[in-house]
Symmetry: C2
Subunit: 171 residues, 2 copies
Amino acid sequence: MRELRLLDRPWHERYSVQRLGEFVARCRKRGIAVTPQRLAVIQALLASENHPSTDEICAAVRRKHPHVSLATVHRILNEFCEAGEARKVTLLHDVARYDGNVEPHHHVVCVRCKRVHDIEMPDVEKLLEGTPSLGQFALLRCSLEIEALCKRCQIAEKRERTNRPHRAEMD
Amino acid sequence: MRELRLLDRPWHERYSVQRLGEFVARCRKRGIAVTPQRLAVIQALLASENHPSTDEICAAVRRKHPHVSLATVHRILNEFCEAGEARKVTLLHDVARYDGNVEPHHHVVCVRCKRVHDIEMPDVEKLLEGTPSLGQFALLRCSLEIEALCKRCQIAEKRERTNRPHRAEMD
DNA sequence: GTGGCTGCAAAGCTTTTGCATGTTC
DNA sequence: GAACATGCAAAAGCTTTGCAGCCAC
């Protein structure tokens, strides 16, 4: 399998320009107001090639709008994730979680209740064979995180969707 | 690829018993004192099939040792991770990190400085094809997290290992 | 003009740290 | 007995929330 490669800068550039161009239209469609703060946050987010923390985004935003509050950046980033404008890299970030199983294995995570279960998938480790490094990174090991919905949360989501007046919600 | 499966309880049981049996010997080998608190934590960790938070471990430990402090559980779990007795499921847990790229893609993470870079690996998405669910979990999407060391940290680690162990650098 | 958005400050959580005391080897 | 581990409480981070004022639509 020889498809493993870092996403490069030209790709990133083209993607960002396109997303930025669509941003206002997407907000309108979702009924989200287009404010200077939201524009500044999406710009900072798309400009960054690291995966920035709220603090870093806030610092970038403040270079042009020094008055912007950290709390607002938090609120905006959360909205963006719900709206599909951004993705939280750290699904399980709120509390540290530990695993007594130190053998190589992978995880299924319920995106709603954050329950985690181990899975076995021996072929995944092979993905790294023959690729000791990637750009500046020396590869050590890999683990697959499968996002899922557990039974209990499937039922809860269905109930919520039928009971509650529907927002435009795309999966 | 038909190897995807949840790790089941019998496997977990056997593994835990073995690890627990080796625990004291492993501590001796590493020069870590065997205290009642550390024993209670490793027991709680191996007994759990969820991936418990520090708080949950502490609650489990307190059922037998009501005096144990949450700070101690934190300290012990961190030690266990360094000693290879446990694994932190949430590598990037300290701060929330966001990604402006909402297309399916994967990540390389430097385990030392936590720098993250996007990677493309189209075949990985195919791992889930033909497996809509696993046990109680309805699968949605997956993302591969490759643990690695970036150039800067490779150099830093090498320096640390050859020089005497000074840990005076942070960026 | 109105409903939603923002800034500020305070509160809420999780995790870490300092220090005196207690334990392991 | 010496070095290390623990408990407690306080501090340190990150994130969320309440509320008055402001702005996009």
